[in-house]
Subunit: 239 residues, 2 copies
Amino acid sequence: MKTKRQASDSCHYCQAPQQCFGAEIALDDKNPLVQETVLLKKGEILYHQQEKIQGIYLLKSGAIKTYWLNEQGRQTMGSFYLPGELLGFSSVSSHTYVENAQALRDTEVCRIAMPLLLNRVSKEPAYQTLLVNLMSASLARVEKARYAYIDTSATQKVAIFLVDYSQRLSKSLIDAASVNLLPTQQDMASYLGLTAETVSRTMTQFQRQGLVQFSQAKQMLKLDYAKLQTLMVNACSER
Amino acid sequence: MKTKRQASDSCHYCQAPQQCFGAEIALDDKNPLVQETVLLKKGEILYHQQEKIQGIYLLKSGAIKTYWLNEQGRQTMGSFYLPGELLGFSSVSSHTYVENAQALRDTEVCRIAMPLLLNRVSKEPAYQTLLVNLMSASLARVEKARYAYIDTSATQKVAIFLVDYSQRLSKSLIDAASVNLLPTQQDMASYLGLTAETVSRTMTQFQRQGLVQFSQAKQMLKLDYAKLQTLMVNACSER
DNA sequence: CGACTGGTTGATCTCCATCAATCCCTGTGG
DNA sequence: CCACAGGGATTGATGGAGATCAACCAGTCG
């Protein structure tokens, strides 16, 4: 099951408070913004859709995927979240989570309750701007993803995903040497609207062309950004 | 060119202030939240990508599409916006518009500058919650659109779009009798990641099956929601 | 009246889904 | 320690949904 820890401890001993959401806000020993940290083992669920919202989450380590189950039980992939990224904004207005969140590997998240956040933010205009900007950036990111993936070939989709994902990884605090970096090809396929077979074929093709290199444990090692970015834009002209 | 009108007039004589964003906030004759209204003729641009942000916009009448031009000049469709809907949140964090906004027909929008909005909102916690909820709802809407359209057939895509669009139309203040309701099939195709030919074929098929009826001027008249919604979920089982 | 934009319809081709078999790796239990 | 099971990845063969190319029509605007 999920393991929980009091925030006061957690924030106090946090390895990377400067990366925290509004560190200035969060780092107040008397009134910690983060109410608790949650430790998830690979595969565990952080929250289910339609559950009452408990707050938004900041990823401290690991990786989370969100997905949505329709009435027929069919699963649709939402997004992937990496350390330093915020999760759950889209559920705030409905007061219930609109999707499921599952740990892709052992993961640590910090929970921030919205009432507490809003209360804190209302006292300081600068923090209000910070919150609005964070939400705006989330929106821009989702819209940009839509732009990027619509009307593209399978090759382009995989290339775009690899570049975006690895750039986000490099921005994050993740210890690249010790973790299995990529989601499963099945999850990638689901996210991109492809099949696992197509993703597999594309990945092996990329390896043969030297665009991507992996370690034996399927960890992503190196990308040829220049060539991949050429692939991303040159739609059908590429043969 | 764009025609502008002082807000004090506009808000004062607005036909539908109760539909306005935070009407309680907006309707203050001394300090109007809406700084001006802009009248756009069909085809006119409300803003270009990379322009300095002037605020967010509330649609009063008409319709807007957003699109994005990449470095090669290829155009990718963003979204459609209908009366009562808010436009521009995703640009707030970057201080420049991240996309282009163009009027699909004669359109009237109200401009709300962010600094003014934030200032007003900071004085009243309830308004702060309202703003956060509006942004959260925008995010949820974009994510839901992603869920809805990924991994679906052309038939499903068009069905989903028609149902969603007409439901949003019915929520809006639009005068259904006097306007051409649908975007062009080219824009629909671009939004859905299809070609115009495929959309055309699907639409005529829907008409033959009696799922959709049009007037002679291509205005959408009537949808068979029940049957369309069956189409939306029954992926490949439908023949 | 042309010119142009948007819509319709048909023929062909291609990319990717589908189905199937096999392999590899990890974890589990006798 | 080995056998086995199960999930993920790989590779091949086949078929189909939708893109592409092309021709044509209808309404609209200068």
